[in-house]
Symmetry: C2
């Protein structure tokens, strides 16, 4: 079929830039050359890509017509064309200096961090640090981040980031459910939110509470009667108007007295000056680290933090980096992910949080910012913000305009807000409008003296006077002994910072070194051209609540992206608001619930979930207020259709939804998918498709074609947003028309109709109207540069690559689960359980792969004792071959053990990975050679990647939870 | 003195962004914190920086007043301020699509190369690959480059780049002087240049010939009588009008018949289609690689290439990368600089070329571009250019407008050029104006179909017709079997390219890993903020011959830079045209010569040069037509004043100039500098100062203050332009008023008066009016962000760092040459000659330093058997200490040998550097441990840098010159 493979009859358009056919984006994005594709097809027994696809994708869901895109053109654009079209959109954004505040402030990203971290594939193409030994760089930076948060908040421990401040507050609320003494009285629980929290935070908490049947009471936390059902009190510090309550300890005490927890949403820059929440009884502290050097980007991505006390550690959602030791004799210090979304794995349907992908890259940027500035520098910046606010307040009051006394960077001014905002805009500033007669001004790092004078004189028409004197903050000491750790007091020159970043980067295996074939994660190329617009100021410097007239460019780009995604998914509407796949699941299930409520079916509360589902699925279902019912799999890895039918039938009256991943998490295009969707609909349920595996579908089939009603897209998988070492992500959701009115809305800015319908404020699932807007251009570029045909070919080649590898490996390993005609989809599982009897476990193989220069595939998920391999279309044949060679060589090493030729303790498998330390040591006492340890195949030497620590000791790490940098006393030795 | 060290009384301007005092650029640029500075001062016996400076810089040249800058403000700007001021200038450049051609074409820099090479400190902060074992990455890429050039030209060998096409042609002319049979008849020599060469090339050749007394004859190379004094024939292929002579072999034959060499200036993109110059008798081939992915940048920097036959190899100027073997048992393949500016080192005053810094980074970009596109891709691009030109020509001719038939990408059209150029500009295009009734159109890679249609319809008012059919080039086969080497046929996907670039980068030690204390090279921080504007399209996409009205931004920036440099140097005028320090020397000496001619002193032709001078000095003098007379040094490393006086006196009547480096190449502030300048002037000579060491002078003294008349500034040393692994560079020259009229001019664009006076076309020393304009923003940013005081402090801290290190090392090593009060300047020399009796030579120390993670200081220059250490102000104390610790540990290793405790062959010194291969081998038979080999001090393990090959065998490399990639047959095994 012509739409899958280039037709040789296609006339060459000699002058078309795309006719320089060898320099198409498609050619750059795909790994195997056309020649290699043909040879690989031959290896697996096919003549053409299309034949392979026909044999792999069930006929009943195969697209009948070539896919088209929804905006501009379906044809592929060159890098230049796509960038210039995008540039024309970017230019429609009007970038004013934003003093809106409300959780978002302008900040300087130090250039050394910008170029060497945010724009550096060594940092942005890494995955979540599952393989600790080759991830010590970002693990160290995340530990720095946790230490920073812990110190700023005065709490005992912090996690390695959450999605945004608003969802972090919602996560805190969920912790309160579990932790509060009042939690028992379910159904009757209330959650109190101070009225002076940021409105988007209250909105997101409300959305979350509503699904759980928890009442949110909004009022004055210093005085309201909390009642006896209150599980938590959320309050902002300084609050959204810039004030700090007089008796902070009193608020916490009142919460505690009521049996509730005190949840403080605090500004981390203010915390360099103001007393830490830990000193006034906070139980959980959350906030946004955006102003620590991360561009506003129209709302995201940024890292949110969460900190709590040690006793609540195991209730904290998200990932926590912790210290452990090497499992070898050395017992050297090593870092690892100590905890992550535990409940999802352990108590799936009891999970209280669905967080998975977080904001690692942005957390790392924030940590780097703090390291570069150091405690003195941070306090310097904070003092300037305070000084500006003070000067503004004084000058205004002196001129008879009533302005609040700032606790930190924000003041509220009485005035005719409409006319003042208009004058401000003319002078180049955005202010916050609080109503007809108040505006807010938040002074961030980038505000200059000249800006202040202009605001006073041009906007308010008052005499600026001696602003320097008015801004004097010399008496403001700030917190004592802040951040005494060496790392925050060392890297002060740019050379030092550059080298520190480089030193960490070098410890981490990322896509710029070799393939990362993590099944279900789709670690494809993150092309440079896609990354270019991310750091255009026209995208990065826009406040999420900037007046709508200033954001035409963003809205146009998002509308274009959504239109394309509609075509790709076969749906009618899309929302890009969710900040991760898991958030998308939650948002999608909420849409289903709201729809069902709207048609009088609000009682439907059962969610069918296949046993093979990702842990986020049941967790999201719980968060959406659903009861999970698990559906079995058959031996071929398919959903057990009989079990499914029985359960659907049984829960018919209350069936809300089924969640199904397609192709399945086992990497199979299940033939029964249309039966499944049909039966679900017959039983009155809706079909939620988990789109993590969409990379096998694009242009070949679609969620819509399969009969799904809603689907989330991990844009950080299929659509090229880099994983950043554990986030950011975008979990856009697509829906059928009947669900469109129930897509997430927003309380501050109406979500534009052209970009997805809104159902108003109570439905927001993220702090910003369009979520992580700043990284959407990445996906937009990808789609535009591949075009409709290219997208289809990407899926086809992803399938080809997986099948080629499966073929190469199948004699050595048993490949589990294949489709009806014997093909896997875009990923496949190899079974290692048979080696267990020889003592070799999956971890041995995963760690040994590091010696061969490779990141392990997904380990023990979805099937324990297996590896799931997903090469993606971007890996070339030679790389696939090297990886297969490595796995085959490892198989031979296993065989030596199986045969008894080598004892397990004498096998390199057992000791893997091997560090420099290991092989350079003077007392080598292994049964195998050092060269076998470090250079097991010839190609390895060409670009040896050294794990920096030996195999980490997980048990030790779990038993001794240390998740901040070593205390300063360590350095004092 | 307040201008050296911050006065504690300085009032803090609380709101000034700079008042966030901890985040000034100065703080980021300097290595040692203020606290460390004070402690280091104490270590060397001073109370303050100013006291150190007073004791170091002779009083009679110390600036009396604080230095000021010449433009905007003398105060330091923040990164943001400086960038926004520069942005306002950039916005004044008007970026049109340039079809001017004439040696410069628009090109797409593939983003993967842009981000991972041009914007990546791992590539741009490396130095010339003097230490081969830790430079195999860029050596490999340069070998790729040489292979590319060799293949394209069909010549036997190529060098690793020259400065630009015009100077490359002049270098070729110099080769002709040495190689032509007619060379003997000196004085009577002529050099023939075809009139259809690019005019800027002819101009630069003329400048060069004039100084040497060689007549340039411009005419028709296909027919002119060459006479019997002709040493070479330079002709362009395709020529500047886009034509190719019918009988190419005939032109070469005529040259050969006349006893001259055939020098072909060829377009490397055209060479993918047209027959190679090697096939028609070319002896030397030169050209610009700009259109291989390097932005035009208003003229530079770009790599020029030179290729010749093997028999002329040792006459080829510049650096050549060659293959050799490891000196160890392994004898593995290794790369090194096989030859470089040999004459400068060996036959100093007989040198025919002064080339030193070249264009490594740009050559590497060009090679990467060719690798990414591959032979097919390059031919594809070339065919498109040809197709566009053909279509334009056909459509115009069809419409009755006379247009030439293109040989490649360029056509000449008969028309009213003024009105057509105006229409073109309106439509967004720049054309080349050949006179009142001709315009030229060169179609580069970026021209689109729409552009062509617009040019035909909007500019020429003709019907575009079926341009696709007109552009058909399917019959143009292009050259057969072009670039068959594996490297040009492998890295086709972006992932592959990314990994290849990363793999090479990882082999090279650059400033992002550790200090590179190369004396005389000033390897200071190249700050990211300085690099940011380099890739702004408003700077990078400007054609050097764009109409003057379009380049206001550039001219304003350059004028500002020049004004600042005047203040810094104490001079009256500056030219930034020279593309390297050595070019600056040559330009400066030419200015002196022209001045002397203008006052009737044209007979003055003696140049005094201290024996300690850098090899480029005598070479430049020779090129300027001067006779070198060498002046001795005394035992303290100072110029022997008696010898100097005697020689100045002796040559009084013919004394043209003295060249003096200050502080001296020995790192000493000679007290006698003012005597020397005075006496020179008294003898009627001019003082040329080599400003390579200006980093010790800024704001403390100045060339002008010392009495110099002219000085070149290595902007790639003092003013932060990164060395790029061996270039680019800018060798701006500053002059006193009387020399200002003799600064280099330009033949195409008048050099703007505000940016340096012009003396017209015959005085150009580079192809582009402002040389390497694109990298001037780097220096501009540096100066603006440090401000006048910061510049002074940079010099003071550079002096502090050097003296601190000298102090730490002086008990272990003898430190040669210090100033009157016992201080060195910004660098110092340690003597290793005393270890020779124990068999330990300087190379052992240099290579052993690699095991400690450091790049060796400058080895055996200016004094054989020594190391010259220049830390620069950007290195922090801990880094200085680590380096000193390494040298002290090495000293202990030397002592073991001296003492007989360890035999030389048993010492790690002898076997250094140690590769992974070495220490991981199973048969380790050394007397020391593997750990001693690889991790000789504890800090090394934290970020081990592995040399990728063992010590290279220089002798083998010299004997077996292999300077292209292995032939394809190698891969066929
Ligand atoms: C099948 C599946 N569903 C959902 C998710 C959750 O996505 P996210 O990590 O973006 O929240 C994942 C993540 O890997 C996944 O593999
Ligand atoms: C003292 C001295 N003069 C001149 C030069 C030549 O400068 P360039 O390499 O820029 O041509 C150098 C180069 O290092 C040098 O050290
Ligand atoms: O390149 C140098 O001569 O330092």
């Amino acid at each position: 079929i012509a739409h899958i493979y280039p037709n040789s009859e296609t006339p060459v358009k000699a002058l078309d830039p795309r006719a320089a056919a060898l320099d198409t984006f498609e050619r750059r994005h795909m790994g195997p050359s056309e020649k290699d594709q043909l040879e690989m097809l031959k290896t697996i027994g096919f003549e053409s890509l299309d034949e392979l696809v026909t044999s792999t994708v069930p006929a009943n869901i195969r697209l009948e017509e070539p896919m088209e895109l929804g905006s501009h053109t379906s044809a592929a654009m060159s890098e230049t064309e796509a960038l210039s079209l995008l540039r024309s959109m970017a230019d429609k954004n009007k970038v004013l200096k934003s003093l809106i505040g409300q959780g978002y402030n302008e900040t300087h990203t130090p250039y050394v961090i910008l170029r060497n971290m945010l724009e550096n594939p060594g940092w942005y193409t890494a995955y979540t640090p599952y393989q600790a030994e080759i991830s010590q760089g970002r693990l160290e930076m995340l530990l720095n981040y946790q230490t920073l948060v812990t110190e700023l908040t005065g709490m005992e421990m912090a996690n390695a980031s959450l999605l945004d401040e608003a969802t972090a507050a919602a996560e805190a609320m969920s912790m309160c459910v579990a932790l509060s003494k009042n939690g028992k009285k379910k159904g009757a629980m209330t959650f109190f939110a101070d009225a002076q929290c940021h409105p988007q935070t209250i909105a997101v908490v409300k959305t979350r509470c509503e699904a759980l049947g928890i009442d949110v009471v909004v009022g004055d936390a210093t005085s309201a009667d909390l009642g006896d059902a209150c599980i938590g009190v959320l309050w902002q510090y300084p609050n959204t108007r810039g004030d700090v309550v007089g008796d902070a300890a009193g608020v916490s005490a009142r919460a505690h007295d009521a049996g509730a927890l005190s949840v403080v949403a605090a500004d981390p820059l203010a915390l360099t000056l103001l007393p830490a929440p830990g000193t006034f009884g906070a139980d959980i502290c959350v906030g946004s680290m955006q102003r620590y050097g991360v561009p506003m980007g129209f709302g995201g991505p940024h890292a949110a933090y969460m900190a709590t006390s040690e006793k609540y550690a195991r209730r904290m959602p998200g990932r926590i980096i912790g210290e452990t030791v090497e499992a070898n004799e050395r017992k050297g210090r090593a870092l690892r992910m100590a905890m992550q979304t535990r409940e999802q794995h352990i108590r799936r349907d009891k999970a209280t949080s669905n967080i998975c992908t977080a904001q690692a890259l942005l957390a790392n940027m924030a940590a780097a910012y703090a390291i570069y500035h150091g405690p003195d520098g941070l306090q310097d910046i904070a003092r300037r913000c305070l000084g500006l606010a003070k000067a503004a307040s004084s000058a205004l009051n002196k001129a008879g305009i009533q302005a609040s006394e700032p606790a930190f960077d924000t003041i509220v001014v009485k005035c005719d807000s409409a006319s003042i905002a208009e004058k401000a805009e003319k002078a180049g500033f955005n202010l916050r409008v609080f109503g007809p007669d108040e505006v807010g001004l938040s002074f961030g790092e980038t505000v200059t003296r000249e800006d202040l004078v202009s605001i006073l004189e041009d906007v308010f028409g008052v005499d600026a006077g001696d602003v320097d004197a008015l801004a004097d903050t010399s008496s403001v000491k700030g917190r004592n002994n802040l951040l005494p750790h060496a790392v925050f007091n060392t890297h002060k020159s740019e050379s030092q910072m550059l080298r520190y970043l480089k030193q960490l980067e070098d410890k981490d295996l990322a896509l710029n070194h070799s393939m990362i074939s993590l099944g279900s994660c789709t670690m494809k190329l993150n092309a440079t051209a896609e990354m270019i617009p991310v750091t255009w100021p026209e995208f990065s410097d826009v406040h999420p609540f900037a007046p709508r007239e200033q954001t035409d460019g963003y809205v146009e780009m998002i509308a274009s992206l959504n239109a394309d995604l509609c075509k790709i998914t076969g749906f009618d509407a899309v929302s890009v608001q969710p900040n991760s796949g898991a958030s998308g699941e939650y948002a999608g299930l909420l849409a289903i619930r709201a729809y069902q409520q709207s048609i009088g079916e609000g009682h439907r509360n059962v969610c069918l979930i296949p046993v093979s589902a990702h842990g986020t699925n049941p967790a999201s279902a719980v968060m959406a207020g659903l009861k999970c019912v698990i559906v079995k799999s058959d031996d071929d890895g398919n959903i057990d259709l009989e079990d499914f039918k029985a359960k659907a039938e049984k829960h018919k009256d209350n069936l809300s939804a089924i969640m199904v991943t397609y192709p399945s998490t086992y990497g199979v295009f299940e033939e029964t998918i249309t039966d499944l969707t049909r039966i679900t609909h017959e039983c009155g349920g809706q079909v939620y498709m988990d789109g993590a595996n969409l990379n096998a579908q694009c242009g070949l089939t679609s969620p819509g074609t399969c009969g799904a009603d809603v689907c989330h897209l991990n844009m950080h998988k299929t659509f090229c947003i880099p994983h950043g070492g554990g986030g950011p992500g975008v979990g856009a959701i697509g829906v059928n028309a009947h669900l469109a009115p129930f897509l997430p809305g927003h309380t501050v800015t109406a979500v534009d109709a052209s970009t997805g319908d809104s159902r108003g404020s109570e439905s927001a699932v993220a702090a910003a109207p369009y979520g992580s807007s700043l990284i959407l251009p990445i996906s937009w570029m990808y789609i535009k540069m591949l075009g409709a045909q290219g997208l289809a070919r990407a899926s086809a080649i992803a399938i080809l690559n997986a099948n080629y590898m499966a073929k190469r490996l199948e004699d050595a390993y048993s490949v589990l689960f294949r489709g009806a005609n014997g093909q896997c989809a875009h990923e496949f599982i190899i079974d290692l359980r048979e080696f267990k009897k020889a003592g070799v476990v999956e971890e041995d193989v995963a760690k040994r792969l590091q010696d061969y220069g490779f990141h392990s595939p997904t380990m023990s998920w979805p099937v324990p004792g297996t590896l799931m391999i997903e090469p993606t279309e971007s890996e070339d044949r030679a790389e696939l071959d090297r990886f297969c060679d490595a796995l085959l060589a490892i198989r031979a090493e296993i065989k030596d053990v199986e045969d008894g030729a080598v004892k397990l303790e004498d096998s390199p498998l057992h000791h893997a990975p091997h560090t420099m330390d290991d092989v350079v040591t003077d007392d080598w006492d292994r049964a195998y050679s050092r060269e076998t340890a470090a250079f097991p195949l010839p190609y390895v030497k060409d670009s040896k990647f050294w794990p920096t620590v030996g195999r980490v000791d997980n048990v030790h790490g779990d038993r001794h939870l240390i998740c901040t940098c070593p205390p300063v006393s360590v350095y004092e030795e």
